[in-house]
């Protein structure tokens, strides 16, 4: 079986005929535990057309009795790698996430459809400065953006300074913690954390929910025309987006993706 053929990423070209979305059976290539409650599935998706950072896929599970459950998951991997990575938070009372996190081993099949989305996407061609604000698992689509950013050449990155503000409950809940530390150095991304339910001793980041004072410190000054992307639980996303606009950011440059109630 061939691994996913990497076609050119889907680009809106002059009057091209849009392609219908098809369900495809992806194969789990590998799994990777990110935190105690979070796992990444590395998928080979046949004839995957490529994607843009921020897009998601739909995943469908069909039980023997025909019962279907469908959920959307943000793509964690950048377009530069051939596999499609989904980082999934296991919700104890979830219908789908426990199955995805507990039952899928390499070799298993999984029905996926995508890539989906176009509003909540960013790539280097859109410029910056770039502000990414994540709450909990909202880091996933933003990580695709950061990985894409890190893969860009130094000259492109020099024109687009990038900052991440990531809110998590505790240090152990920070997904991609080591990789973010590496990217902070290697790709000169300004990475800042805030922990809302307790911090380890000698913690040098913030220790509270994201508020206006924090965003005034971390956000780019509005006259710089920053592109902002906010993702996570609905209350956090709405609070942060409202504050950014209050601080003077152009509302059309503040893009949001709500993940629903706080997990």
């Amino acid at each position: 079986m061939s691994s996913a053929t990497k076609a050119t990423p889907e680009v809106t070209s002059a009057r091209s005929t849009p392609v219908r979305l098809e369900w495809r059976v992806a194969k789990v290539k590998a799994v990777r535990d990110e935190t105690r409650h979070v796992r990444t599935l590395v998928l080979d998706v046949p004839e995957w057309p490529g994607h843009r950072p921020g897009q998601h896929v739909d995943v469908r599970l069909v039980a023997e009795d025909g019962y279907q459950a469908q959920r959307s998951y943000s793509i964690a991997s950048p377009p530069e790698v051939p596999s499609v990575e989904l980082t999934i938070e296991r919700l104890d009372d979830g219908e789908v996430s426990p199955y995805l996190c507990d039952m899928l081993a390499p070799g298993a099949g999984l029905e996926v459809r995508g890539p989906i989305g176009g509003y909540f996407v960013w790539d280097v061609s859109l410029g910056g400065p770039l502000l990414l604000v994540a709450g909990g698992s909202g880091i996933v689509p933003l990580m695709a953006m950061l990985r894409h950013y890190a893969a860009a050449d130094a000259a492109s990155r020099a024109t687009v300074p990038a900052r991440l503000l990531y809110s998590a409950r505790s240090a152990d809940d920070v997904i991609y913690r080591d990789e973010l530390a590496r990217l902070a150095t290697a790709a000169e991304i300004d990475v800042r954390f805030t922990l809302t339910r307790g911090a380890p001793p000698q913690w040098s980041g913030y220790r509270r929910r994201i508020d206006r004072a924090m965003l005034a410190e971390v956000g780019w000054p509005p006259p710089t025309g920053a592109q902002s992307y906010v993702c996570g639980p609905t209350p956090l996303v709405e609070s942060v987006a409202n504050i950014l606009v209050e601080l003077g950011h152009d509302p059309s440059h503040v893009r949001t993706e709500r993940f629903g109630p706080t997990g």
Binding site: T12, P18, G117, T256
Partner: protein, 93 residues
Amino acid sequence: MQTEEMRLDGNAAAGILRELFARDMTTAMATCRGCGSSEPLGKLLDYGHGMGAILRCLKCEAVLLRVVHVRDTIRLDASGTAVLSIGVGTVVG
């Protein structure tokens, strides 16, 4: 749990809209028939809660789009949308 906490946005409707329109619709601009304001679909509030999409105006909360998948039918009620403006890419000479 409060409805506000559970609400999503047009990104959550992207899949079913893509099924229907055969292109991404989250950047399409929808003009509210109620108050006249215009926003990208991806930005609208989605109160569908997994039963399809119910996209509401950010300003006046009127329903712009209702999309439901029922067996072999996708039912779209766009009566709250005055205009839907869809970018189709630039023409190459």
